[in-house]
């Protein structure tokens, strides 16, 4: 009997990233509906949470960050995830770095930004982030601080897309710009095989891990780095100082229960820096793989069971 040929994959572009949506199971009709629903779900997150689109709901709230706004359940969900991430990482994840990023010139998409116009400014440390997130009255109050949800939105969008697929009885993988999540094994019943990109740009991955459920994310400075007055900077900022963080690291990959949590945890782990990331991973029982500026590859004990190959 011939194997049923179904278009089980959809590739598109959203959130300034390449997107891959892969269905592992389901009939042709189910897969068609699931892929469509997943894409729509991701587009909805982009339209709601983009800081580069002046018409997005987030941009509307950011433009007047003091005072309550009636907002969608989706934006509340995203901000709620960010609050959870902020609290769960004791402040290492902080969407209020938006102001610092904009001062450094990252006030539009990275491809469009003016790399000559930024500056590094010193500022005093900020207190805890505690916006008002009221799902009962559908209200959001950022309490004066505009935010960037770029640190959680891709992972959260992947999670949401998988839920949209599940409505049609389909499981699979959703990858958005290198961050993503899976909702079960692949089409052959085996874990998905996911590579970790070489920060030097070589095509061959530096490692490969297996994943049957949960999310994955990589925080890397490979692409988003530039110079300000002769100083090399990148987009992963320490929220305490507002300056680029993660000294000594080039790339951190984390596996977690969801795409959103992986994305948050990867940033927090990166900001621990080369000197602190091992302890941080141990303390959090984090499945974590990191590459330092000298190319050394290391991983936590919790990562070991998932690794199926590391470049010799």
């Amino acid at each position: 009997m011939p194997v049923e040929q179904i278009a089980r994959e959809l590739s598109t572009t959203a959130m300034a990233s390449s997107v891959r949506i892969i269905a592992a199971d389901g009939t042709e009709d189910e897969v068609t509906m699931a892929l469509r629903a997943a894409r729509g779900s991701i587009e909805e997150v982009e339209a709601t949470c983009s800081r580069f689109d002046a018409s997005s709901e987030l941009s509307r709230v950011n433009a007047r960050p003091s005072g309550p706004h009636e907002v969608s359940a989706l934006l509340l969900e995203m901000v709620g995830l960010a609050v959870t991430g902020h609290q769960g990482t004791t402040g290492r994840f902080d969407p209020r770095v938006l102001g610092d990023l904009e001062r450094m010139g990252y006030d539009r998409t990275f491809l469009e930004m003016n790399r000559e116009g930024g500056h590094l400014a010193q500022r005093p440390p900020r207190g805890d982030w505690a916006p008002v997130v009221d799902p009962h009255r559908a209200l959001l109050d950022l309490r004066g601080a505009p935010i960037d949800l770029g640190g959680v939105a891709k992972g959260a969008a992947a999670d949401r897309a998988l839920r949209a697929m599940a409505v049609h009885g389909v499981h699979g993988l959703v990858d958005i710009g290198g961050d993503g999540a899976v909702s079960g094994p692949d089409g052959l019943g085996a874990p998905w095989s996911i590579g970790i990109e070489d920060p030097d740009g070589q095509e061959e991955p530096v490692a490969v891990f297996a994943l049957s459920r949960g999310g994955y994310a990589t925080s890397s400075i490979r692409l988003r780095h530039w110079e300000i007055a002769g100083t090399a900077v990148h987009h992963l900022l320490d929220p305490v100082t507002g300056q680029p963080g993660g000294e000594g690291l080039r790339s951190v990959t984390v596996l977690a229960a969801s795409g959103a949590m992986a994305e948050i945890a990867a940033k927090a782990a990166f900001l621990a820096g080369r000197s602190g990331i091992a302890q941080h991973a141990d303390d959090e029982s984090l499945a974590c793989f990191w590459i330092d500026v000298e190319g050394r590859r290391s991983w936590s004990a919790a990562m070991t069971p998932s690794l199926i190959w590391v470049r010799p």
């Binding site: 359940a73 709620g80 959870t84 990589t218 969801s258 199926i308 590391v310």
Partner: protein, 145 residues
């Protein structure tokens, strides 16, 4: 359903999702707390009685009652018990429930001691194959614009 009510209903899902996510982020702490709940079993002495004696049976029943009361107090955080009415020594059971005794059995990190350099490096790769297995996707920065 009004528009506002519909929004409220829709928002409840995310609220639950946030709670679940919080549990994920603080999963370690939650797991350890759960260990604390279940790790303080009281080691009360088992009353011994002489078979066939009504007096001993009564005494044993009293002792069981004392132990029961002691356990109730233990649960409330006290180590002392009400003195028995027959003049016997008070029965003391276990340690205060508030003592963090569960941490003795809590899971410890499986990696090596903290250091200023990565200490969890595993020198032997999971496989010695020179070429990587086929991958479905690659996690990293190249997919982001």
């Amino acid at each position: 359903m009004t528009r506002r009510r519909a929004k409220r209903s829709a928002a409840m899902g995310p609220a639950l999702a946030v709670a679940a996510a919080a549990a994920s982020v603080t999963g370690v702490a939650v797991a350890w707390a759960a260990q604390g709940v279940g790790g303080t079993a009281a080691s009360a002495p088992t009353p011994t009685t002489a078979a066939g004696s009504d007096a001993d049976a009564t005494k044993a029943a009293q002792l069981r009652a004392q132990i029961h009361a002691a356990r109730a107090q233990l649960a409330a955080g006290s180590t002392t018990t009400t003195a028995p009415t027959d003049g016997a020594a008070p029965v003391t059971v276990g340690e205060p429930a508030s003592q963090p005794v569960a941490y003795a059995t809590a899971p410890t990190p499986t990696t090596s001691a903290p250091s200023t350099v990565p200490t969890t490096t595993v020198t032997a790769p999971p496989t010695t194959q020179p070429a990587p297995p086929p991958t479905t996707v690659v996690t990293g920065a190249s997919g982001a614009g």
